[in-house]
Symmetry: C2
Subunit: 233 residues, 2 copies
Amino acid sequence: MVEPVKSAFRTVKETLKHKIVAGDWGPGDLIPNEVELAAAFGCARATVNRAVRELADEGYVERKRKAGTRVRTAPLRRAAFEIPVVGDEIAARGSVYRYEHLGQQTLSTPRWLKARMGLDHHGKMLHLTAVHYADANPYQFEARWINLAALPQAAEADFSLMGPTEWLIKTIPFSNVEMSFSATAADEELAHHLVCRLGDPLFLAERTTWWQAEPITYVRLAFQRGHKMTTRV
Amino acid sequence: MVEPVKSAFRTVKETLKHKIVAGDWGPGDLIPNEVELAAAFGCARATVNRAVRELADEGYVERKRKAGTRVRTAPLRRAAFEIPVVGDEIAARGSVYRYEHLGQQTLSTPRWLKARMGLDHHGKMLHLTAVHYADANPYQFEARWINLAALPQAAEADFSLMGPTEWLIKTIPFSNVEMSFSATAADEELAHHLVCRLGDPLFLAERTTWWQAEPITYVRLAFQRGHKMTTRV
DNA sequence: TGATCGGTTATGTCTATACATATTGTGTGG
DNA sequence: CCACACAATATGTATAGACATAACCGATCA
């Protein structure tokens, strides 16, 4: 547990947050304005401003000019996940990570993929499949498409040594991402590689990545049976 | 698309972010210090500080006293979801929301639930089941347990009118939550209520809620076949 | 009645300045 | 050559003061 360093704006923030969480100030209630709070806490308005601004960012209050600051009526329920690289995730759990490159081929872009990536022109895709292992157990099956029109270097990369995820992070470290999560039934391929039965329910993550508005890659990650993705808010 | 209002710190932030995303400054690179940036942008150091601090919060850079500010080597991949109340979610998609309360009973806490909620003492739980509909179609099956030791009022609440989620938000608007997502196979009950086949893969969300360190409720939400949870980062 | 125009108010941002604090690097003495 | 003290440095926080801006509210006028 990291105990945050004391500082005036943190004290103000924690004090106000406590009043909200404990219900002293209920949803919809107007809280004192910044000048009053600054006087009450004996600090500058800028200090109160930072405290209350952060509470607004975190979804505790809503602020409006002239109208003042109110406790949110419908508190924001946000879930945030850190998405680690699969190798790091497995290593962090104390297991040995192994990556098996199954194969790659250059294909013309399937229709469904063009729709998903928002591509209008024709072009080639590099298609890769791989399995990620934790110790001796298959952990995740990866099926990836890389847009060769945007990333021609991918054709020359050697994905038997470095996984496509690592290679992509190295090549374009900052990108925009759309992720979606769902459930799917194991087909022949998944059942074989993840060592489960045909039709078993599997947790599925899909991710499309853009770099400067250009679609780069789409990946479909099927997790081992029973996998859970967890977060604490 | 919301075009953010122009302001100096936003300009600084966007300019720096662009340099990072475009690769002008690569991972690990040291960026100019606040005084230099302030001079370059012709603004006060506090303005630069806010810009860079927000970039650090968003995972673009790492800051250390005396050592300076560096572009993150392993950019944080975060996925954030807004978790709406199911009724609002369905209404937002333009469908008609309907809620069907199936039943409720008071039970002693099962062993698995005590483990999950971190309860050591014995006590009663209110167990509820319900189905949420979008138009005529079942959307989500809800199985919920409410800790009566922490929330005795729940025993008197009428959950045929107001869904347990709404009731809980009203009762304890601000709480801590642990969520997890996985895939499961439809059992008899789920197949019946969600109108799918036995064994169909379903997307599952589980949520445990605490209020001031006290466990309040655990809920298991099974979504209609094919459901996807999507987010854009 | 109703639309419009200012004035008032609370938040939003910015500045200049100051001191605190973590961390690095340097130099000194053993 | 190492340990330790100390200076240098970049970020972290706080201050008072100022002006900007959105939004509410009442007054004025068609």
